[in-house]
Symmetry: C2
Subunit: 242 residues, 2 copies
């Protein structure tokens, strides 16, 4: 892990870009005490997503967390994957035609991404948890590609709480993995997200094995998660990481 740039933001948050092998990432920290880490997912394209990622990260850091994110396989400056691009085009075509998105397309798009991104996230945890600014205790994950968060929550024992954004498709074959998830969950669903499958999201929420699981459904479309969910998320992590 190599830091490539750093910038002190006006709220006192230190933002550092890094690379982990050839994967770019961003770390936001503050203060002198080691803070619990929230690993933030993203939908791909760190530069494109930067304003929203930084806003979410800074909202967590000022509440006493460290926040970090890494680029997805095949997104941003990382090499494209031809099969994934084809699957993405097929999915977009189905959505635009108003057709149901088949599990075959979802599986072709999402499963290889999950298979690559989860070990990369685990490697990021290995590196980040050695930093003195970060508390080597329980970790939270927040947002990003739903299926990646799902598998991370199922397989990675350092994760003690997961905030999942039900705004992307999950292959039906992964519903069995959802039953293996036992950590406390906060699932955000945009009720009127037209590019998403609401019933799939509700079925997935039902499938999670966690004893403490909460669904927050709001209006506002895919990108319109209300601002009041930010403090709710911090309260959720405070209950489980502090």
């Amino acid at each position: 892990m190599h830091f490539t740039s750093e910038q002190l933001l006006d709220d006192g948050v230190l933002e550092r870009r890094f690379t982990l092998g050839d994967i770019p990432g961003i770390l936001w920290t503050s203060g002198s005490e080691p803070a619990p880490l929230i690993l933030m997912g993203n939908p791909g394209g760190l530069d494109r997503m930067y304003p929203r990622l930084a806003a979410r990260a800074r909202g967590s850091v000022v509440e006493g967390y460290a926040a970090a994110t890494i680029e997805l396989p095949g997104s941003g400056d990382r090499p494209l994957d031809a099969d994934a691009e084809q699957a993405r085009a097929d999915l977009r075509q189905a959505v635009q035609a108003g057709e149901p998105v088949s599990d075959e397309i979802v599986t072709r798009l999402v499963l290889p991404l999950v298979d690559k991104a989860v070990p990369e996230s685990q490697a990021a945890l290995d590196a980040l948890l050695t930093l003195p600014e970060i508390n080597d205790g329980p970790v939270g994950i927040s947002g990003g590609v739903l299926a990646i968060g799902l598998r991370l929550a199922a397989v990675e024992p350092r994760i003690a709480a997961a905030l999942l954004f039900a705004g992307s498709y999950v292959p039906r074959s992964m519903f069995d993995e959802a039953r293996q998830v036992t950590v406390p969950l906060l699932v955000l669903l945009q009720w009127d997200d037209e590019g998403n499958d609401r019933q799939m999201a509700l079925d997935l929420f039902d499938a999670f094995g966690s004893k403490e699981k909460t669904l927050h459904a709001n209006m506002g479309g895919h990108t319109g998660v209300p601002a009041f969910e930010g403090p709710y998320a911090n309260q959720f992590f405070a209950r489980h990481l502090k």
Copy 2:
């Protein structure tokens, strides 16, 4: 409206019993400044429900609200209604037999209750809002019988925010009233509430006309709403009543 008893509780909350005509009620207040009112619904039986009602009320009052509730028609010490008792027995029998609860039974049980309870709640608002301890501004409603809260939110213009507990049946004929509701809504649903119809609750959430509507689904059974929903409720009312 006549106060019949008063008691200063150990958190400084003043609890007063009152009657409004022949309807018993309870008012919880605190402090010197007039506070916004939260009218709390209840499932019937003020004495039976007192511990949970008082805990919810005190949690709101210490955050700067006044809270009040009145007895339901046919519950507690109020005269029984033979038709309602028969409908309640029919509903209980269907649930115990694991049969679907027919809309006919729900309508027979709930609609007459709504028709009586809503004007009584409005009369309670008339009386409560003249008290100097209560701010004559926007009012919140919280919990209780879902169909009563639904109609109050649809017809009573003093209500500016509604927290509804999706833990009881609503006649299908009232879904049109749900479309007339436009105030901000927070709907609580116990996902694993076996005496309730989850799909009906989700359909009803979908039907509400409000631009700001939020669903919080949790585990824990009918009476197991997690304690962390208390602060969330106060934040919801703070956004809309203060």
